[in-house]
């Protein structure tokens, strides 16, 4: 079956098997910044924004969201023009092995869209589905708080 998505602002049409999950459709079509791991929605590595809402793409049926707007971490910024969250994650040591980073940044991005002044508790809750086995989360929370400062300063 054919599905249409707007991914990072560009229109795409894919011919997919109707039983596929979004994660596989994205990775098979070159969006390898979306990381696959558990296929059960438990780790958050495959997080993308679907119509602005962060979800685990390994548990979303690709056919169900035909017509959706999808944002991957590359939709926020790239190495030349990083988003303040991406800058902050690098500067605060919140990236170690890096496997959870795309998903965590997208979850944090969705939080800041909804709530530009979150408490530490709000931040922890927003990224509670994004498991990290390197940082112990301290640097991630610090990075998100630093990103808030960068955003306020317009950097």
């Amino acid at each position: 079956m054919k599905v249409h998505y707007k991914i990072n602002g560009k229109d795409y049409e894919f011919d997919i098997h109707p039983g596929k999950v979004l994660l596989d459709v994205l990775r098979e079509n070159g969006f390898t910044e979306v990381k696959g791991n558990c296929y059960m929605g438990t780790c958050g590595a495959c997080t993308v924004l679907i119509n602005g809402t962060p979800k685990t793409s390994c548990t979303v049926l690709a056919a169900q969201i035909n017509g959706a707007e999808i944002t991957t971490v590359k939709g926020l910024g790239d190495i030349l023009n990083p988003h303040p969250l991406q800058k902050a994650f690098v500067e605060k040591g919140a990236v170690q092995c890096g496997y959870c980073t795309p998903g965590t940044i997208l979850a944090a991005y969705a939080l800041l869209k909804e709530n530009p002044n979150p408490t530490d508790e709000d931040i922890k809750k927003a990224i509670d589905g994004n498991l990290c086995r390197c940082t112990g989360y301290v640097q991630q929370v610090e990075a998100i708080k630093y990103a808030i400062t960068l955003l306020k300063e317009g950097k």
Binding site: G19, V21, D24, Y39, T42, G44, P54, Q64
Partner: protein, 280 residues
């Protein structure tokens, strides 16, 4: 990883009548999809057709004539973050919802799906039982059943031929208190025991009360013996006595995650904690 390799076709009905017609035509090979989480995590290789509910207009949370209605495709986060739900029970219902699973899954798990699956560890089932909620389902005509009675029937057989439209519950006034306790090994783990309580407290007396508990490890049910024990009691007296009664009379078992004694102990502790919170 193609888990659902036998799927041939997807349907996007625009009315409940159309959805039911497809469900009847395709029978056991069709799967009604709300959020889709259960289906992707526990894939059924027999499924050949998806019936998506997204275009049926069931994504609503509203209050009408003293009743709160939550549409089947509303996610946990839709509800937890809605002003209507935040305004109930001093925010306690919203708080209880916002601790279920993880942020990402709260954006996918739907009320309809939670009721239809009735997983033993479901926090939604426990919450809806405590709220004395009703399930509204459609099989060509609309039916409304109390959720505890719905769960006591062969509801899975009913849902072979029906679709859950909404859950609804009374908008309780400020004399009612609500609370929930959950035991998990980590923040996003499945619940190993949960308890929800709704009580009407007047002049420090428990005028009316509903207690539900789940992940016992069996599915959520009402704890009617405890309800009867607490009804009419002075709240302070109830707090003193509830731990032992709940612990001794709990219908819980052990499993690979927690033994029976642990769950028994937790049942007593949760019941006491919830009653204490109602006195604050």
């Amino acid at each position: 990883m193609l888990k659902l390799k036998n799927v041939e076709e997807c349907f996007y009905p625009k009315t409940l009548e159309e959805a039911i017609a497809i469900l009847r035509e395709k029978g056991d090979k069709a799967k009604v999809v709300g959020g889709g989480l259960h289906l992707t995590v526990f894939p059924n290789p027999q499924v050949e057709y998806f019936i998506f509910l997204d275009n049926l207009g069931l994504n609503y949370i509203r209050e009408e004539n003293g009743t709160v209605s939550i549409g089947a495709t509303v996610t946990i986060n839709n509800a937890a973050k809605s002003d209507l739900i935040k305004g109930l029970f001093s925010g306690n219902l919203s708080s209880a919802l916002s601790l279920i699973a993880s942020e990402l899954l709260r954006n996918q798990i739907t009320f309809g799906g939670s009721v239809a699956q009735r997983e033993p560890y479901s926090d939604i089932s426990t919450i809806l039982l405590a709220l004395d909620a009703e399930v509204v389902y459609f099989d060509g005509s609309e039916h409304t059943e109390k959720i505890d009675e719905f769960f006591e029937t062969d509801f899975r057989a009913k849902l072979k031929d029906a679709i859950i439209k909404e859950v609804r519950f009374k908008k309780f006034d400020s004399s009612y208190k609500f609370g929930m306790e959950r035991h998990v090994r980590n923040a996003t783990d499945i619940t190993l025991l949960n308890m929800a309580m709704l009580a009407q407290i007047e002049e420090n007396k428990i005028k009316d009360i509903i207690v539900s508990y789940g992940s016992r490890p069996m599915p959520a049910i009402r704890f009617k013996a405890l309800e009867d024990f607490l009804k009419g009691k002075d709240l302070n007296e109830a707090v003193k006595e509830v731990y032992n009664f709940a612990k001794e009379n709990a219908d819980v078992k052990g499993d690979i995650r927690r033994d029976e004694q642990y769950r028994r102990e937790l049942t007593g502790v949760f019941a006491k904690r919830l009653l204490e919170s109602f006195g604050r």
